[in-house]
Symmetry: C2
Subunit: 138 residues, 2 copies
DNA sequence: ATATAAATGAAAAAGCTTCTCATTTACACC
DNA sequence: GGTGTAAATGAGAAGCTTTTTCATTTATAT
């Protein structure tokens, strides 16, 4: 019954929106590209256009329902917003994504912005590396 | 006489390479997109193709002569490499870029990678905000 | 000077994302 | 339950940055 979430966000309750939300909620993947969502919809038998998936994800972002990560090298991935900020570790071999929060870093960032006279609006932090799993694989 | 830098990097000494290097060294802008470099070359009277600018910048990156920042939202900017790692603050209004280093953050990043079993290869940190100048402008 | 591997320019292609516009749909109101 | 209207959708075109292709030019070793 997430129609309420959509109404609250000022969005009409439509099938594409409900289905995209459903995919995000039920997929094993916590971080999905628009293409991932699109393919999941097809597998589910829903013929929703890729342009609509992009539109809906962007609207969800605007409504605070999802957040967008802009990964190095072009494409974006989306994840359901749960209110808690966190940053990401990315495996350069297998693209695995792990999450972390570090209060020390968060605090230092605020201090740096203040030092430089910036009114901080956002930040993005990615740690790239080779994950445990891929280190074994050679 | 930076022909030596090119030879050392295993690159032939060509006019496009010398001129791109010259632009990077003499421009007021410390951070330049490929397009910025391309336009600066045109203003200088050098008709060097944009594809060549991209190629040369990418080779310079490989050779460690420049580093590439992948700014949120697509396009990259390049800066001459001076051996010292630093991160960036970006003004969302005027695109001004400021630099900083924070040893506490650097150290926390290494600790987080270790905790998660990642062999860290790189990281990218951008603080977005409104710079001092733009805060006045409203 | 000559040969050859590398570099260049111009245009096409790639890859992701947004836009256009004709058609369909949600929902407020009678 | 119908109706009207603004909003949403689908399909394809277009946009943007960056890379690739390939014919031609150039740097450098001999
Ligand atoms: Mn996440
Ligand atoms: Mn810099
Ligand atoms: Zn991995
Ligand atoms: Zn500014």
């Amino acid at each position: 019954m997430e129609s309420q979430d959509l109404r609250k966000a000022g969005l009409k309750v439509t099938l594409p929106r409900l289905k995209v939300l459903e995919i995000l909620e039920t997929s094993d993947l916590r971080h999905m590209s628009a293409e991932d969502v699109y393919k999941a919809l097809l597998e589910m038998g829903e013929e929703i256009g890729l342009a609509t998936v992009y539109r809906v994800l962007t609207q969800f972002e605007g409504a605070g329902l999802v957040s967008r990560l802009s990964i190095d090298g072009g494409h974006a991935v989306f994840e359901l917003e749960d209110g808690s900020h966190h940053d990401h570790l990315l495996c350069v071999r297998c693209n695995r994504i792990e999450e972390f929060i570090d209060d020390v870093i968060e605090q230092r960032q605020r201090a740096i912005a203040a030092e430089k006279g910036f009114e901080m609006t956002d930040h993005s932090l990615y740690i790239y590396g080779i994950c445990r799993h891929c280190q074994k694989t050679k």
